[in-house]
């Protein structure tokens, strides 16, 4: 979801002002996407310029407020976007990977320690997400809850993948070390023979 299409989708439900849009966006994103008012308003300006939404003024107790409405063109754009699968694969910009690249091959013990601590952190996060999911499941089912639950699932599956990847890194680094050690031993033996 982009901020642009998120706002179009919200305005397709009903006309809203910027403040309402921000709140509705936060609710849909379930706290996983930090969007500030600046981003909301700059996106709104762009949508107005592109003719996807229009703005009108509303008088709210003497204060003029801008209310936004989706246009026919905007609805078409939103539907086209909705029907297409997301072609982009989630970007892999893991900070831990950059750290690894700089640490290796200087300090293997420190790397293994870092990987283990990172894995434990992800595990603790998984437990917290699971706690949220469990509490949600006790509240009975509404459509919005199902969506939040699915979003929590997504966060959990990704955290699980991170845990597996970190375990994999640990196993590979250990494996690589033992190969190097064996090679070093073999070289020593050859050295003794000569």
């Amino acid at each position: 979801m982009s901020v642009k299409h998120g706002l179009l989708g919200l305005l397709a439900r009903k006309p809203q002002n910027g403040y309402e849009l921000k709140n509705a966006f936060d609710e849909i994103a379930g706290g996983f996407w930090d969007v500030n008012f600046g981003q909301i308003y700059s996106t709104i300006d762009r949508l107005v310029k592109d003719g996807l939404i229009t703005a009108s003024s509303e008088d709210a107790e003497g204060v003029e407020r801008r209310v936004y409405q989706i246009t026919q063109k905007g609805i078409q754009e939103f539907k086209d976007w909705l029907d297409k699968p997301s072609a982009k694969v989630r970007p892999l910009r893991d900070e831990i990977f950059v750290k690894l690249a700089f640490m290796y091959p200087f300090d293997k013990e420190a790397i293994l320690q870092l990987l283990a601590e990172q894995r434990q952190l992800y595990l603790a996060k998984m437990a917290e997400l699971t706690r949220k999911k469990y509490l949600l499941s006790r509240q009975g089912g509404s459509r919005d809850m199902l969506m939040t639950d699915l979003l929590l699932d997504a966060a959990l599956f990704h955290a699980e993948a991170d845990v597996k990847w970190l375990e994999h890194c640990e196993a590979k680094l250990r494996g690589f070390e033992s190969i190097q050690r064996e090679e070093a031993l073999e070289n020593d033996e050859i050295g003794l023979d000569q």
Partner: protein, 234 residues
């Protein structure tokens, strides 16, 4: 809160021919009353052995296991089987249901074996059957049920004796992820609603995340320990 289970410097050694295998290698662990502990670790790390010793299904080579402050090593066979029958409910990966008995009969079996079958205990068992969502399946045979339903029978059977400790060995090992979630929610309910202490052996991180505490065993010792709510999320 009081410690429900204490494991003190426990070793468990198996002999394979002349070779000795240390399944548990001096492990110590305290589990609080009402805690949900997840035990992870590779196969052969001692997870199931630990569960069996806590459930009084097996005895340590050395060291002690305490339940409610009582050392199991001081108890005779009768007292031990009483603990197994009354304090501990077991849930297995393979469900371990008797194929010729209906769901309800399987669930009532431990009560009948313990000679505790009465109108009152059977009524409680029926409440449990309802709580795990099996009311419409109680007269079905295991072969007529899905994996998720069979595990619900397994959980209801464990709960029917009103155990204060639930020991689960890979309870979701044979289930898909959606059914696993339902089963794990049920286990979490046991902890939240009935204050039962739960010890679950599991290899899957997603299931382990149901625990308040997650420990990882390696070579018969605790290698890592993660407190569940220590992370600052988002």
């Amino acid at each position: 809160m009081a410690n429900k289970v204490e494991v003190k410097d426990v070793f468990k050694t198996y002999k394979r021919g002349k070779a000795e295998f240390h399944a548990l290698n001096g492990i110590s662990l305290s589990i609080k009353e009402g805690e949900f502990l997840a035990v992870m670790g590779p196969s052969g790390s001692g997870k199931s052995t630990l569960l069996h010793l806590i459930g009084a299904l097996d005895k340590p080579t050395s060291g002690e296991v305490f339940i409610d402050g009582v050392s199991l090593s001081l108890l005779g066979d009768d007292a031990l089987s009483q603990i197994r029958r009354e304090k501990v409910g077991f849930i297995f990966q393979q469900f371990n249901l008797l194929p010729t008995l209906t769901a309800r009969e399987n669930i009532l079996l431990p009560l009948r074996i313990a000679g505790k079958s009465s109108r009152e205990t059977e009524r409680y068992a029926d409440e449990v059957i309802e709580a795990v969502g099996l009311t419409n399946w109680s007269s079905n045979l295991p072969e007529e049920m899905s994996g998720g339903q069979m595990q619900r029978v397994g959980i209801a059977r464990a709960l029917a004796i009103r155990p204060s400790i639930i020991l689960a060995d890979e309870p979701t090992g044979n289930l898909d992820s959606k059914t696993s979630e339902e089963i794990l929610n049920l286990l979490k309910d046991c902890q939240e609603q009935f204050k039962q202490t739960i010890i679950m052996v599991i290899h899957d991180a997603k299931a382990a995340a149901y625990g308040d505490r997650i420990i990882r065993l390696k070579d018969g010792q605790i290698d890592e320990e993660v407190e569940a709510y220590s992370a600052n999320l988002i």
